[in-house]
Symmetry: C2
Subunit: 460 residues, 2 copies
């Protein structure tokens, strides 16, 4: 690369929330940006589809206290928020298929199990407080925590059978993986990055407290509108050449752009599939070999009305039997329709994916019907999304650190490589795995390239 | 893809030992083959360089009993084998830097430590016998074994501090990673795939028993010679389109070949970086997100003669202090020169890589000098190879399964995806991680496409 001409100041790769926010902020500072997206739509792990004239979220959708940047973004974009419906009682389905109603976040388990779970939760919170989310590989117990799986910790700490089952269910719901796949250190980091375990699991006061009017995808859609011609869809990036003077970003169709910087705002496994020339430093490359995505199928059943509410149910359920591990009332703010969302994660998601579309629908509606009664069996419409089959995401909710990855290679997660910067919820020390983490990471990448200035011009 | 013309019967991607053997066997059966290699030389994780008019192996180099296919290949290609030099005493360096001489495979540790290590080894062998190497995800204890790291097992099983240190050293030497990075199930699978733990660690009777005259790389070189124009170097493959009728394989420069089948014979992380259209099934893709390579720097010091032999030393050493964990006498068969090879693995390799080339040389020669005396400090020549920096290998010796990967997604390791077949040592149920595994996997892929026939024509 001998020519010094820059087509553009910054190329951003990936129009998920991180890339969109990054490009938006750079443009606000007068930086010339090109945002390249592999898919035919923006949003990344937030996706909206219209079902029966209601927009439903196939991906991330909840926000909650402490997620300041996403609330600020919603306000800036004129997207209203409203509380997730939580009135009424929740349901827990036991492994044997019995239903137990409960209020709040603590299901009716036996007293020994309840005590066991409460102790485990308190211990996780206590251990999480020792983790430095900016550098989880530091800290007196980092090697001990990162030398074991969450499964090992559960086996050692939780003494009742019911307690172990409930902890596994929590892992399925929070990380969309099996406890065997997850480093204890990553679980603790993730808890600390949100503040506490209850910040992850709760509706009121937690990460599921609020929803966005018209769907979380509205944020991505409105950002895309503002970017206008700075956004290019259907453009998978295949190669990034980089040197002291700039970067050359080449798309699958051979089109190339020369820029001063590139921000790669793709999920880690996808970021690792771009060809970098020269090759990435060993530590960065080796880290990208180690960060698989969780496994999740989200299903959305739409009914004429939220019939469970009249039966005194909140629509929130947990199931130890599965395959749906977790449901939430996701009806539109208007209440015009009733919408239940269900999450199938980890091994259950991998198993469900082996069935035909028709069989999956039957299995999933059976699961909902056991939880909410016969009315659940005949939705107006039913959609599902297997995030592991999306070619440019290949899993969700987020990348799961296996044992050893944080301590061996974690310092390569966020550090730029020359003029290549990294964004995406996985690079955020706060709210890793959430829309909030993505927003923060996009802002941080923009700030690293062009710090906020007083004047109107941020051009380099 | 509407055209049915096939440029070629089979494209093989990657000219490591697996790809070379696969292409060679297919050609022997009259199948028209094109072997594409990203690098400027064949051999993959076997690489030879001429140093002071001796060919030295920068990569894999040893073979041993039970590795029938590689011995047969050596015979077919006219490459002689000879025993690794093992006469004399071995050296163990303690963490504190003291040297202890020993014979055989058992260093002089304290009696409690020795007993502890012997018990751990016997247990690993016993547990390994329960693993089905064809389907490690089956078996009564698969989930238990795959739910924990090797670190967890060591912490729980080995009671002496010295014993734990020695088991960690064994992990460094065998898997080139930290015990925290490795599923216990993978360790057991790997042991069973070789036969026993001593088959992995031993010289006589084990995987380090013999060497190949002129270097292991000679096998690759001779196979490449036979392939003639069927081999194309400097051709990284970027995209594989596949349908019911065939495959289209596209290189980085845009050249494309239509074929009946493709065999991807690249290390798992590299196989995952090719763009597949349609995208790979979720299980296969998700598995490829989970199989990082080990970390190893191999160094080779050449001396006027094998001076350690006259001092009664074998040249084999283990060091708990490091950074070199393991050395072996790798002098040429002629004995004209003395050559010591050293392995720096796992965290030590990652740490060493942060130093300058000059500093690394100093550190590594200091390490050799502590083990073998002042003569080791002034080699005729000194070369090192950091396998993690090789853009088309990105680690060695082999892919390391973290917890959960075998049980959750292992069944996607070897299964073809339509007309896409997988080869490479990681796909072999016998001698995974060794040259033997690569040879077997190449033969198996060739057999899957074109079973052995009586007649001379294997053309489809």
């Amino acid at each position: 690369m001998s020519h010094q001409h820059h087509d553009i100041d910054v190329v951003v790769v990936g129009a998920g929330m991180a890339g969109l926010v990054c490009a938006h902020r750079l443009r606000q500072r007068g930086v010339e940006v090109l945002l390249l997206e592999a898919c035919q739509q923006v949003g990344g792990r937030t996706v909206g589809v219209e079902v029966d004239s209601e927009v439903v979220d196939l991906g991330g959708q909840f926000i909650g206290p402490g997620q300041d940047r996403v609330y600020a973004l919603a306000e800036e974009l004129g997207v209203a928020t409203f509380p997730t419906y939580t009135a009424g009682t929740n349901v827990l389905e036991t492994e044997a298929g019995r239903l137990r109603r409960f209020r709040g976040m603590v299901p009716k388990l036996g007293p020994f199990t309840l005590l066991d779970v409460a102790r485990a939760q308190a211990r996780l919170d206590r251990l999480a407080r020792t983790v430095d989310t900016g550098a989880p590989w530091r800290g007196p117990n980092a090697n001990t925590f990162d030398g074991q799986t969450l499964q090992t910790w559960i086996d050692r700490t939780v003494t009742t059978r019911g307690g172990r089952g409930f902890l596994a269910l929590a892992c399925h719901a929070i990380w969309a993986c099996e406890p065997s796949e997850l480093s204890l250190l990553h679980a603790l980091f993730y808890i600390k990055a949100a503040g506490s375990l209850s910040a992850l699991t709760d509706f009121e006061g937690g990460a599921q407290q609020d929803r966005l009017d018209g769907g979380a995808y509205g944020l991505a859609g409105k950002l895309a509108d503002r970017l206008e011609t700075s956004l290019r869809l259907n453009t998978p990036v295949r190669r990034i050449e980089h040197d002291d003077a700039g970067v050359t970003v080449t798309a699958e169709d051979g089109t190339a752009w020369r820029a001063g910087h590139v921000v790669v705002a793709a999920a880690p496994p996808l970021a690792g599939r771009i060809a970098y020339r020269p090759a990435l430093p060993a530590a960065r490359d080796n880290l990208l070999q180690r960060l698989p995505m969780g496994s999740v199928i989200k299903c959305i059943a739409t009914y004429p009305e939220p019939f469970w509410r009249t039966a005194g149910l909140s629509g929130a359920a947990l199931s130890l039997r599965g395959p749906i591990a977790l449901t939430v009332d996701s009806s539109p703010r208007s209440g015009r329709r009733g919408i239940l969302i269900g999450f199938v994660t980890g091994a259950a998601a991998r198993d469900l994916a082996t069935h035909s579309s028709a069989a999956r629908r039957t299995i999933l509606l059976d699961s909902l019907t056991r939880l909410f009664g016969p009315q659940a069996s005949t939705p107006l419409s039913f959609v599902e999304r297997n995030w592991n089959e999306q070619p440019f995401t290949r899993g969700a909710y987020s990348a799961v650190f296996p044992p050893g990855a944080w301590t061996q290679l974690g310092s390569a997660l966020r550090a730029p490589v020359g003029r290549i910067h990294w964004a995406g919820t996985e690079t955020s020390p706060r709210w890793y795995g959430y829309i909030e983490g993505a927003v923060r990471s996009g802002e941080a990448a923009a700030d690293a390239i062009t710090p906020a200035r007083r004047g109107p011009s941020g051009r380099e």
